[in-house]
Symmetry: C2
Subunit: 207 residues, 2 copies
DNA sequence: CCCTATAGGCGTACGGCATACGCTTACGAT
DNA sequence: ATCGTAAGCGTATGCCGTACGCCTATAGGG
């Protein structure tokens, strides 16, 4: 019988995401989001307990757009894992500002679990036992999380790499850096993933 | 001829680190650090341009304690890489609060470059060409960065994993989670690293 | 059609933050 | 003894999240 809500959680998340995409993570504040949807600052607190909950809303909203359909079973297991991983990377990379937010709230996100489910299934099919599966799954997650951040923070082809290339007192590192411009962002990401998958494959093929 | 400074940068970094270790990252503020060293807040600005520079000071101070001596050349290349990686993990894990800080400022740290130098050398010795070396180095960095965060944020043996294990609608994932308590933090980290190293080894051995 | 209980939405205020600016003061060189 | 320089500090500004209390729109019951 009381007054009905005039907003959905989704509208709230959308507004907050709009603020982030426009002004960056530093621009995200309760005041900014309130202004975005034309409500008073304190009005938001009828929908969320605190800023953290608003952030959680945003990352759930984004991660929910990741396709969690198991890939075609005709493909080999490692290709299927690559497909799953690329789907996540694609969604996250389209909102670079909120990478730190996703990292911080990842473990409370149901969406990331739904994404992990087919991954666990594929690893099981590949013949990994329970313990191997735990380790493989966590390493994949670790690699994805780390690689996305590296990519976001300092692209391999960027200025930072050039600085390294010019450091004479670090001969091996700078020599390596000089090869970096040959490697695109996609090649880097897929290359590293391929290394990890080859390692995981060793657990099954070598038996 | 003017009045001399009464503080070194190192004292400043030490004070800030003490604040973080005591009160967490949230407790780090210019006011708190000023109080820690018995100076006024604005006095700090004679030493750093802004808060970010203070943070950089702290992480450099910590990362400088990582041993960058190349490991004994008698050991196989993959063991030497593991030694280098474990050294970094050990230092970072002893200051868990500042993991996010290290992530954010990592690319501006000279210490991390000095740590990468022997890594690049070992990979070269292992027979990887320039392009392979770029990818291997970046994947190792990605894995380390990601794994340390995962470890810090939600230990495999923790409550979060139990929650997953109880989710009936995610059969494969929860079945996998039920094996997690068998895997210690060290086993998890080394296991994932071993997978990656095996993949890297495939670039050289298989030739 | 009106009444009323309920929850929605808002304004104000507080304590904390980083930091710009300008003053005072200690000090080394002369 | 004096003086130029930079050290260190006090104040003030404009952000931030959010606690608290008020007013009011609304749906259901009469």
């Amino acid at each position: 019988m009381p007054r009905p809500r005039s907003l959905t959680s989704d509208q709230l998340a959308t507004a907050a995401l709009a603020v982030i995409d426009r002004d960056g993570l530093a621009g995200l504040s309760m005041r900014a989001v309130a202004q975005e949807i034309g409500m008073s600052t304190m009005g938001l607190y009828r929908y969320v307990d605190d800023r953290g909950e608003l952030e959680q809303l945003v990352i759930d909203r984004v991660l929910d757009t990741v396709d969690t359909m198991p890939p075609d079973k005709g493909r080999p297991w490692y290709e299927r894992i690559e497909i799953m991983v690329e789907r996540l990377r694609h969604v996250v990379s389209s909102h670079p500002w909120l990478v730190p937010l996703i990292i911080a709230h990842r473990h409370r996100s149901v969406a990331i679990m739904r994404w992990s489910e087919p991954l666990a299934a594929i690893l099981a099919e590949a013949g990994l036992d329970g313990r191997e599966r735990v380790i493989a799954l966590r390493s994949l997650l670790a690699y994805v999380v780390g690689a996305i951040q590296l990519e976001q923070l300092g692209p391999l082809a960027g200025a930072g790499t050039q600085v390294i290339a010019d450091r004479a007192e670090l001969p091996y590192l700078s020599e390596t850096a000089r090869h970096a411009h040959d490697v695109t962002t996609d090649e880097e990401f897929r290359g590293g993933l391929a290394l990890l998958l080859r390692g995981i494959g060793g657990s099954t093929d070598a038996r």
